[in-house]
Structure formats: C-alpha cells, structure tokens
C-alpha cells in the first residue's frame, strides 16, 4: 500500500465485491456486494456511490461493533448466493448475514440498530418503469422487510429520490453520515442506542 497521499476521487468506484482501504488504513471501503464488520474504534466504514444499491449499517454502540454492507439487488435469483459471488449482493440474504457477522464480533441482536442509504431511481425518462417496479425502491423495500423480520430497529434512512449517495460509519461513535454529491446534502444519524437506558429484566 502506498504511504503517500491518496489522490483518488472519493466517489470513484472500487473493485466489485471488495473491501479495500480508502484514504487511510483506517478507512474500509465496501464495494458492491461486499460486507465489513469491525470493532476497531479508529475505523471508518464507507460505501460509496450508492445509486439503486443500499448501504446498510448495523451498529451496536454499547458493544463497540459496527458493520456495513453494500447491497446490489433485492433477491438472489436462485434463493441463495452462488459460490464465488460477493456475500452481500442480495438483500434477502445480506441483512441476516451482516447481523450474524456483527453478533459474532460481540454485538447483541437486541441492541443492534440500523441505518440505510441509497435505493434511488437513477434513470428517468420515457422508458422508466413505475417506481415500485424499479430496483432501487425494491432494494429498499426488501431491506426494510428483512430488518422488520429480524426485529432490528431502523434508526435512520436516507433513501429514494434520484441521487447517488455515500454512507460513512464512524465506528468509535456509531454515528452515520450520508452524503450526496449531486445535491451537496449531508445527513447525520447519531448513534441513538448510546443514549437509551440499558435494558434490564424487572
């Protein structure tokens, strides 16, 4: 890895399915279909240029673990991920897979919270299908369904519309930032679970 300044455009795509260092070794860039989970406080998880794709962050602030995956499509055509395919390409398997990976690193299913970004309809015009049939909204719908099925609270969403987004997870704080280059919008979702009282049995 080069120790010099990284002059790459932060919005330029990375290799399909890969998780690679970004501008610094602490930045983990999650490519399409990729997934990364970490307990390293100094780390930042990033999924760039989400169009119809969904960036899903699962965070357990108390346990200090965060995960991010970059979902491309709502469902695997065969019902499961084929050998050699990126682990988080399909929403129907990615959400649960990411949850398990977060829990394997110390997260608790009851404490994990989600933030999602993306699910846009990038292309407009005469040939555009109705919104509910397009991949972006279908991706978002499937991810939300899976989160509900697994009982994961959705703490924030920056989805829909027609703009590409980048999602950034600060592992130390659990804060999630979503950027849009087209509009210049910047949304921040604080790690709300940190402020919630601990759940105790009566």
């Amino acid at each position: 890895m080069s120790s010099g300044e990284d002059t790459r455009d932060p919005f330029v795509p990375r290799r399909f399915g890969a998780v690679e260092p970004g501008r610094s070794p602490d930045e983990l860039v999650v490519g399409i279909g990729g997934m990364s989970v970490t307990t390293q406080k100094s780390s930042t998880l990033i999924a760039r240029a989400l169009g119809s794709c969904i960036g899903l962050a699962l965070i357990d602030v108390g346990a200090g673990v965060a995960g991010l995956c970059h979902v491309h499509l709502p469902a695997a055509p065969t019902g499961s991920v084929a050998e050699g395919e990126p682990p988080a390409r399909y929403a129907d398997v990615a959400v649960e897979a990411l949850l398990e990976a977060v829990c394997a690193q110390g997260g608790s299913k009851r404490a994990v919270e989600a933030v999602i970004a993306g699910g846009a309809t990038m292309f407009a015009g005469a040939g555009t299908r109705p919104a509910h049939e397009q991949v972006g909204p279908r991706n978002e719908r499937r991810v939300r369904e899976e989160l509900a099925r697994l009982g994961i609270r959705l703490a924030g969403a920056a989805t829909g519309g027609s703009e590409g987004r980048t999602i950034i997870v600060d592992v130390a704080t659990g804060d999630v930032t979503v950027l849009s280059r087209a509009s210049g919008a910047r949304q921040r979702f604080a790690a709300v679970s940190a402020a919630r009282p601990a759940r105790r049995r009566a």
Binding site: R48, A49, G51, C53, A120, M122, G125, A126, G127, V135
Partner: protein, 139 residues
Amino acid sequence: VVAVSLPIDGAIDGSVLLLMTDPDAHVLCSLAGVSSRDDEMCQSMLCELGNVLGGGYLAALDDLTGLEAMPGPPTFARDMLQSVLASSVAEHSPGQPVLALLHDTLSLDGGGALDVLLITSDDSVRAVLSGLGVEEDAA
C-alpha cells in the same frame, strides 16, 4: 457523469450505455444546436443520440451474427459513475454475470469524448460468439 441507458429487447439481453462527463455533454448539446442551459432539451437530445447509437450498434451486431435485437426507450441519469453503472446493470441484467461486450470511445469535434458500452450476460456473449462462428472451446 451523464449517462443514457437503453434496455436491449430481442435475441440478446442487457443494455447499451452511453457515458460522458458533464462538460462533454454540453459539447454534444452545442453541436446539436441545443443550449446546455435547457436541461430538458439536452436530456431529450442525449436520449435521442442514445437511440441512434444504440440502434446502430445493435443493427451492426445483427448484420454480423443474425441476432435480432432492438434498443428499448432510453432513460437518463446524471450522477456518480458507480451509481449509474451499478443501477443500469441492476435494472437490465439483474442477478446475472455481466460483461461489457463492446466498448467504444467516440471523440467529439469540439473536444471531449463519449463512451459507449454494450453490457450483456455471458449467455448472450456465447450467442454472439456462436453467431460469429467462434467455437466455445476456442473462446
């Protein structure tokens, strides 16, 4: 980038994708006599250009291979490269291994360039190679 995507309808699947930078889109609009400040007209002109180029590519492919395919209605996007590329692939080739079968860079008179990609599945690539008389073992 600015992108125009055309789904392919017929003997092969996938899409034709035109990609250009914003300044090059303005050059193209100027060459066609459309003010780059008229966003709606620019989009319409670029989509029409997509129709012409996409139709031309698919007609040439038909001539060479006998595989009949037509471009569907064009759609337009302006955003980050990966956003539009991944969205186009997801929309027109969901869940399949995809390949860029053709990639051409066309230079513009006023400077700049335009990239044309024909993105299709490996099944369609096999059909095209077969149409060209290339044996699968040799491919």
